[in-house]
């Protein structure tokens, strides 16, 4: 685009009283060659906006530098479609957070940086490729079937892959289920009634079902996945836009529960086995087929247990309450439920209450320590800390172990992604093998773009929850397919039309970008040369930060842009006045700084803030650039990293930190102290602490003394 720049300086919110505009305007016009430079008393007011619009119409201005307030506010007013808009937060960073004596220099620096950013940036142009929008659903249980139906009913073609010979998943193995609607009154067990769902899946013209099938591999990228499906000895490749992983769960291996009698005594069975028994008719015990009259349910069998599953499977308490009803179909039989904590959250509590009303269902808290043999094929359940006493032995003629859920992804990638970065979803080890999101707010935020998990493969959950989850995943899959088709990123930059555009002729195949991309968006060809799969990209620009050759650029964000901004900043002549760059992440650290400024907290005048999409895009060359021209220190502010990482690009701040580990070489070469660069983790609510963090760093820099390159 042929750019015509205009700079508008707002004088409102004390800006006019704190800074002298003439010098800035002259420099901008003459030195920075900005053709249109204006100021206004209240730029965000009707007149101010009208002035800008008039320039757009009459002067052909299309690249606007708005030196006013932070981009976090007044976004509706300063919305000029078709124009590049660069917001320079003079109010926050130069006026509200600075003493009057420091405001002028700060304003000059920030406005100059804003102009450079606008000059160096360009209008985004989407990366368009041939795409399909068909959805692949892996798993034909309740979650998978629901995801398929939701997608199909929205008008998308679906390919459903089920490993078993029939649809239904675990639900098909159940004798009865808990009613799905309130109130939970008798009968407390109802038919599973899966047939209508299976039928509507199988008869849906938008859904193609593969049974006894497996996903052999998934190649390509969102919008263009090539999925190889094998079924009954043959295989075929289908083109897919987005993937829903609903591979479900399997029961924990009960043979590892010998201490609870499993495998040692025939009359110790699992919850899943009890479903099979119940399906055959009356509850008969396996050893002799005699009707079970006294059934003990041992909750958390191999769960909430560091030696087995450390987590709770969330649905077993309600499942045992339900199975107690199976037992109670024989009025002479009793059920005893031995639990650590009865977990029937939310309105499932009503189900628990109803079960308690049955005198034939006995419930007690207990720590079951073992199961031993009693006469006549019966069993003793030994327990401690129960409501019945501190050490008690109960006799039962059948013992049911509530073994937990193990996600299908615990030991099998299932997806078989042909990504250089591995076949499965990353981070599984953080989630006990579940294909979960690391984010509370964003349950479908995934590190494999276009691949969304749903149902019990993601978190332990019941059937109703799995259906909701599958509907959510269907929406995200559809959204992903639609966004890729128009060259738009998905969450968290779901508006972004830019994409990484590397100048491959200068690539040295060092592979740092392929290794560091948190989303596996960069693969390598046979010769080891990286190539980008834009459909997988989330626009965090980690590749841009990783590249030692500085060849990865976005239209509106590149190494030269940020480097040039840094080079334009003033360096105080006085040896005692350091200049420090604070490089901050735009989602957390910058809003924290912005909030501090809003509260008129003072920020150290030595600091100049530069905001990055993500700290992962921090290129080490900026350090060399800045230090070689006399900047005294660089403070990086990014999100928390480690297992509970808060970076929505997964590894941004961690990678920046990792790169800093390697910066020593650069600093040594320049004969500079390592302490001149520091990374701190900052959360968005730490606005109260940020000013001191910066001052502490500046004090440290003062202690080290001026950069010897200063003034050179």
């Amino acid at each position: 685009m042929d750019k015509k720049l205009a700079l508008y300086i707002c004088k409102g919110c004390s800006i006019g009283e704190s800074i002298k505009l003439e010098k800035i305007e002259t420099v901008s016009k003459n030195k920075m060659k900005v053709p249109v430079v204006r100021n206004h008393e209240t730029l965000c007011g009707t007149e101010g906006i009208a002035m800008i619009k008039a320039d757009i119409a009459a002067e052909g201005v299309n690249t606007l530098v708005l030196a006013a307030c932070s981009g976090r506010v007044k976004y509706e007013e300063f919305d000029f479609p078709g124009c590049i808009v660069e917001r320079v937060p003079v109010r926050e960073l130069a006026v509200w957070s600075q003493e009057k004596t420091d405001a002028q220099q700060a304003a000059e620096d920030y406005i100059q940086m804003g102009i450079i950013k606008a000059q160096k940036g360009d209008m985004p142009e989407p990366y368009l490729m041939e795409t399909v929008k068909d959805i692949l659903v892996i798993g034909g249980g309740v979650a998978g079937m629901n995801a398929a139906l939701q997608s199909a009913n929205s008008g998308y073609k679906v390919v459903l892959v089920e490993k078993e010979a029939s649809l239904g998943g675990f639900s098909a193995k159940l004798y009865k289920k808990i009613p799905t609607t309130l109130p939970f009154k008798e009968p407390l067990i109802v038919d599973v009634d899966l047939e209508p769902t299976i039928k509507s899946v199988e008869s849906n013209e938008n859904i193609k079902v593969f049974k006894s099938a497996k996903v052999e591999k998934i190649e390509g990228q969102p919008g263009q996945f090539d999925v190889t499906i094998s079924s009954n000895g043959s295989s075929e490749v289908v083109k897919i836009g987005a993937v829903i992983l609903a591979a479900g769960w399997k029961p924990y291996d009960a043979t590892r529960l010998g201490h609870l009698g499993y495998g040692r005594f025939k009359n110790v069975v699992t919850q899943v086995e009890l479903e099979e028994i119940a399906k055959k008719g009356a509850i008969a015990r396996p050893s002799d087929g005699k009707p079970a009259k006294k059934v003990a349910f041992v909750q958390c069998a191999g769960q909430r247990d560091a030696n087995h599953l450390p987590y709770c499977s969330a649905m077993c308490c309600a499942a045992s309450l339900k199975q107690a009803k199976y037992v109670r179909q024989d009025p002479d039989a009793i059920a005893m439920i031995l639990y650590k904590d009865m977990r029937t959250p939310g309105r499932t509590e009503y189900y628990y209450k109803e079960a308690q009303n049955d005198p034939g269902v006995m419930l007690t808290k207990a720590d079951v320590s073992g199961v031993s043999e009693a006469p006549d094929g019966n069993l003793y359940v030994e327990m401690k800390d129960s409501l019945l006493g501190s050490s008690v032995k109960l006799e039962a003629d059948l013992v049911v172990l509530a073994t937990g859920m193990v996600p299908a992804t615990a030991d099998d990638p299932v997806l078989n992604l042909q990504y250089r970065q591995g076949p499965g979803l990353p981070d599984l080890e953080l989630f006990n093998g579940f294909a979960d999101s690391n984010f509370i707010c964003f349950q479908y935020e995934t590190r494999r773009t276009g691949v969304f998990a749903a149902g019990a493969v993601r978190q332990p959950m019941n059937m109703t929850e799995a259906q909701e989850d599958a509907t959510g995943a269907a929406l995200k899959a559809i959204q992903s397919a639609e966004h890729v088709a128009v060259g738009m990123s998905v969450h968290p930059r779901a508006w972004d039309l830019t994409f990484p555009d590397p100048m491959m002729t200068r690539c040295t195949s060092c592979k740092r970008c392929t290794e560091e991309c948190p989303f596996g968006a960069i693969d390598e060809d046979e010769k080891g040369t990286p190539f980008f799969k834009p459909g997988r990209c989330r626009r965090c620009a980690t590749c841009m930060g990783a590249c030692p050759e500085r060849i990865v650029s976005f239209k509106d964000y590149h190494v030269d842009m940020i480097g040039s901004m840094m080079k334009s900043t003033s360096i105080p002549d006085d040896e005692d006045e350091p200049r420090v760059f604070v490089i901050c992440c735009e989602n957390d650290a910058y809003p924290a700084i912005d909030t501090a400024a809003l509260q008129k907290m003072k920020l150290d005048p030595a600091a100049r803030f530069i905001t990055l999409r993500c700290l992962g895009s921090m290129n080490l060359v900026w350090l060399a650039d800045a230090f070689s021209r006399g900047v005294d220190g660089m403070l990086l502010m990014g999100c928390k990293f480690g297992d509970n990482y808060q970076c929505h690009f997964a590894k941004g701040s961690e990678l920046a930190n990792y790169r800093l580990g390697k910066v020593q070489e650069t600093l040594d070469r320049l004969q500079l102290e390592a302490d001149r660069v520091k990374l701190v983790e900052v959360a968005i609510d730490e606005y109260g602490k940020v000013p001191q963090m910066i001052t502490d760093f500046v004090d440290k820099i003062k202690e080290i003394g001026p950069n010897p390159f200063k003034g050179m």
Partner: protein, 415 residues
């Protein structure tokens, strides 16, 4: 849904986490969305939380992302301080009336704070559950979205004239604003009205809300928050004394036929989280948790284990029978230890009542929406989501609200 289709128009009632999630997810799928929020800001209960369990990360981080999604998406329109007053028609063709209550501050506001500086009147800060005061011209909280001041007309001093108006050089103060009525046509409606903390005043055994140092778990969130009434210092309300011995009373009103018969889902995790607030700030503090069942489903178990490993935290299985204030302002808790059968009586500096979640529909119901015991029930083009339909935590709300977005988009397709 296919990009060639005419976009669905969806009304989302409630701009808390569920409503925001539905709105941005629907809009990013091409729908046109209108959010109606009764508060002067978006974010709902989540905006009042200090941290999320189990990650202990700040909720404003996710809100910031969602607000940015709103800012960059032309398909979303927000009405704050607004309520739905009538709904008629059906799926694909709803007529909705909303009432916009006057904010007395228009869009020209730059959040410069001049009005608050000039304002002579004070009001109880409802964002902080009345634990401190703000001026009658105020910003709901420092990271509020929209970042626009509000004037609480009820708190205005009648004799101050118009000092806020005079202080504002941007002409943002409009004291003549009236209630406005807006009519909308939408295809489907998502009810995301959330929940209210159960009123402790109704629980006689727990002091009927008259024990000053027995606070609710939501008040605890504000006490611990950096933008709370104490700047994050956990001091008890009666005398501002930093707390050393604290008790959490679980199921305060929940799982109780006389109050909320259901389990409120979040309180066990919330108390464990708040235990960490206390323990991280004060290495000497002692915490006792009185509970019936510790409900930390799924992978939350790890969070329970983390707190259980702290020797300064003790867990007592037993329902609290009574709390009483002592002369010194301390609080005595009486309970039966269900495992030993012993009566336990202990005194604490402060007690946190894990009051449950009452669905918004218990207090106020929307026209055209069916309710069962205060929980919103689905209808043909009406999709309740989040805590308005079932007690759930933020992550479950996020799942549920994404699901509601797709259902709401579908409902608009029958036209």
């Amino acid at each position: 849904m296919q990009s060639s289709d005419k976009p669905s128009r969806i009304l989302v009632i409630g701009g808390g986490f569920s409503g925001l999630t539905t709105a941005v997810d629907a809009a990013e799928s091409g729908a046109e969305v209108i959010i109606v929020e009764k508060n002067s800001y978006l974010g709902g209960r989540v905006a009042q939380l200090n941290k999320y369990f189990p990650k202990m990360c700040p909720p404003v981080c996710g809100l910031e992302i969602n607000f940015r999604r709103i800012k960059t998406n032309p398909g979303i329109q927000c009405y704050t301080m607004s309520e739905v007053t009538s709904v008629s028609g059906g799926p694909g063709n709803y007529d909705v009336t909303i009432q916009r209550h006057p904010r007395y501050v228009n869009d020209k506001c730059t959040a410069c704070n001049a009005c608050a500086e000039a304002c002579p009147a004070m009001r109880a800060n409802d964002f902080n559950f009345g634990m401190d005061k703000t001026k009658a011209a105020y910003l709901p909280f420092n990271q509020a979205f929209p970042q626009q001041y509000v004037i609480d007309a009820k708190a205005c001093k009648k004799d101050c004239g118009t000092s806020c108006k005079e202080a504002c050089v941007y002409g943002a103060i409009d004291l003549d604003m009236k209630v406005e009525t807006v009519s909308l046509k939408v295809d489907s409606i998502v009810v995301a009205t959330g929940w209210n903390p159960y009123d402790a005043a109704k629980i006689e055994t727990l002091g009927s809300g008259k024990v000053p140092n027995a606070i609710s778990n939501m008040q605890m969130e504000r006490l611990a928050a950096p933008n709370g009434p104490t700047g994050g210092a956990i001091n008890r309300p009666s005398d501002g004394k930093p707390v050393q011995k604290i008790a959490f009373v679980q199921c305060a009103g929940s799982r109780d036929e006389n109050h909320l018969a259901f389990c409120s889902y979040i309180c066990c995790m919330a108390s464990l989280k708040q235990t960490l607030y206390i323990r991280e700030k004060n290495p000497d503090a002692e915490v006792s948790i009185f509970y019936i069942d510790m409900r930390t489903p799924g992978r939350y178990e790890k969070f329970l284990n983390q707190v259980q490993a702290d020797e300064k935290v003790s867990f007592i299985k037993g329902k609290v029978a009574k709390i009483k204030k002592t002369k010194s302002g301390d609080v005595t808790v009486t309970a039966e230890d269900m495992l030993s059968g012993d009566k336990v009586e202990k005194t604490f500096d402060m007690v946190v009542l894990a009051t449950g979640m009452e669905p918004a529909g218990a207090a106020q119901q929307l026209p055209g929406v069916n309710y069962i015991e205060g929980f919103a029930a689905p209808g043909a083009g009406i999709f309740p989501t989040g805590c308005s339909r079932n007690p759930m935590d933020v992550s479950k709300s996020a799942q549920d609200a994404t699901s509601a977005a797709l259902k709401a988009i579908h409902a608009g397709k029958g036209r």
